[in-house]
């Protein structure tokens, strides 16, 4: 089984999501809908802010993908409106505006993640996977497990097959994030955002080197690989 294959299998494993795409550009909306359906999800499309708001309010979605600039009602207002009505469906904001400040505004309006156009579909897919409300139930857990790998969030220790593995603080945070989203693809930018708290595009393979260091620590001396590279997308921790 190729890694590419496992990536798709895994999405099926997480179950198909019901996604609402609020995007006024016909081509972009159709492309997104097609790609999401191909990835095994159900996608509805609203072409303006009002329609999007009514749909999101009336039906139950797992994730919303909201363009910022929309006719009739802008994306941030749609999300803020939903939040005001107690609707907490995770929302990913798509925007052509890439300034740090725009992302801050988007997140303040109640958005859960922010992606600047143009984007790679793999990046978007990985991000909505992580946002999926049925998947994000690990907040309260103090112990993450993947196969024989264990991470204790309270004592900050990592064990594989009962043997303790010593990690640097940053390596611990990296593994914690990967295990928290075990079975899901995480991209390099997601790692830079969540582990280093920087939101720029790492131009070189700086993240890859961190991941391979971590990989050698948790896989050295063990047969079964845990930390997989998903080509064209990122990484996935899966037993």
């Amino acid at each position: 089984m190729s890694l590419q294959q496992s990536f798709h299998d895994d999405i099926a494993g997480n179950g198909p999501m019901k996604i609402l795409v609020i995007e006024d550009d016909r081509e972009a909306a159709e492309y997104l809908e097609k790609a999401l359906v191909e990835a095994g999800h159900t996608a509805h499309v609203a072409r303006d802010g009002e329609t999007g708001f009514s749909l999101a309010d009336a039906e139950s979605y797992d994730v919303l993908i909201v363009d910022r600039m929309l006719p009739r009602r802008d994306g941030l207002s749609v999300i803020a409106g939903l939040r005001a009505r107690g609707n907490e469906t995770p929302a990913l904001i798509l925007s052509a505006l890439g300034e740090v400040d725009d992302r801050v505004k988007g997140l303040r309006a109640g958005g859960d993640d922010y992606l600047t156009k143009p984007y790679a579909f793999a990046e978007l897919l990985a991000r909505i996977e992580v946002l999926n409300r049925r998947a994000t139930v690990r907040d309260g857990e103090t112990m993450y497990r993947a196969g024989d790998l264990e991470l204790d969030r309270l004592s900050h220790t990592v064990k594989r097959a009962g043997r303790e593995i010593t990690l640097q603080p940053r390596e611990f945070r990296l593994l914690e994030y990967l295990m928290r989203h075990g079975g899901q693809v995480v991209t390099r930018t997601m790692l830079l955002e969540n582990v280093w708290d920087y939101h720029f595009d790492p131009q070189t393979n700086v993240i890859d080197v961190h991941v391979s260091r971590l990989r050698s620590k948790i896989e050295k001396g063990f047969d079964k690989p845990l930390l997989h590279t998903v080509r064209g997308a990122g990484y996935m921790l899966k037993a």
């Binding site: 890439g98 300034e99 740090v100 400040d101 801050v104 600047t116 143009p118 790679a120 940053r170 280093w196 920087y198 939101h199 720029f200 595009d201 790492p202 131009q203 070189t204 393979n205 700086v206 080197v209 961190h210 260091r213 080509r231 064209g232």
Partner: protein
Amino acid sequence: MLQRLNAIFRTTAVRLSALYLLLFLISALVLVFYMTSLSTRMLTAQTRETIEEEALSLARAYERGGIPVLARSVAQRSRQPGANLYLLADANGRPLAGNVDALDPGVLETTGWTQRPFAYRRFGEGTTRPPAEGTAETERHQAIAQVIRLPNQMIVLIGRDLGEPERFQSIIRRSLTVALGLMGLGALLIWFFVGRQALTRIDRLSEASRRIMGGDLSGRLPVTGAGDEFDRLSENLNAMLARIATLNDGLKQVSDNIAHDLKTPLTRLRNRAEAVLSGKHSVAQYREALEGTIAESDQLIRTFNAILMISRLQAGNSAEETTPVALDQTVRDVVELYEPLAEEQGVELTAHELAEGAVMGNRELIGQALSNIVDNAIKYSAGADGGGKVEVSLTRDGSVIRIGVADNGPGIPEEDRARAIERFVRLEQSRSQPGSGLGLSLADAVMKFHGGALDLAGREPGLKVDMVFKGAA
């Protein structure tokens, strides 16, 4: 000429001064009327007092000697120069003595004050001798008079010509009118000349701006050197034009650079796709070609994003939030981020002598700028003799903080250093290295956004890039 006058009248200055003149005229007129009526009232009161005094003295004459003394006294006073009127008449109103020639009928019937025209003889000033009948001026004058009926039913009228207060009033009115007329004329002249001057200068300004709008962005509005509001306006507009020209040049340079630097990868992308399509290949080969295409597109998107970011920062209208940023922490973060990469490349990345320092700024931007510089330093020192070395330092001198990144790579020749910061410039020898060539440009834009500078200095061998922050907290 008429059109020109019309144009002058339409200028704001003229309209304003016309309004002021009108307001001034109205208030001046009010003042004139108030003053003249006030003085008239005062003079009238004075006149009545005089008349009452006369009446009192005539009454004393009457008490002293009865009618004869009174008649003599009236006759005597009538001949004195002045503007007084006297009349002594019998019970039927027939004149006995005095200088009043004719009376409107019924004047003597009612006692008390009356004001009306009287015909009376007036003796010239300085003449002691009564003039012959008819030579004395007998004119009808507005006068105020008191009619008194004596106990024996005879009537005494004592009055005073009001001609003097009236003359006084008319003099004031006339002089004020003349003054107002002169003022109006002056205002008209001022309108004409000031308005015409303003108009000429505005004409010159609009002509110059039309020329500039016509495409000659190097043109500037005329400044006369008078330092007045027109000059200030011209200077400000010129400053604006200079800024527009700078931005325009920047924009032109960006589009030139985009055209130049994106054309190459786009052409490569296209040619690769064409080459794959033209031959027979296995599915794996097609897949590989497509993946290559995606990778190349991603690089293009990165380049675009970097260009956009630099442009926004350089345009100076970026709304990025600024917060206190602990630079030492940023340095540690970035060094920690790049340490594994450096090790993999056989480069020793160290951060010694880190002073403490915080500036107001944008942590993301500073982090990204430093990442770019460190990334470059690792890239270029990787093949150095005896192993690459990159040292990151943070030094503080008063309010100036420097983050220095020194490498032992090939360095940049001094004459090329300024150019290395320009957008897209990748010096010939580095063309083979991956990257958009925008790292230093972005770092430079970030430093300028923070009011600082990016310093490039040579080392033996290598390059030292300093991010210089001014005004540290």
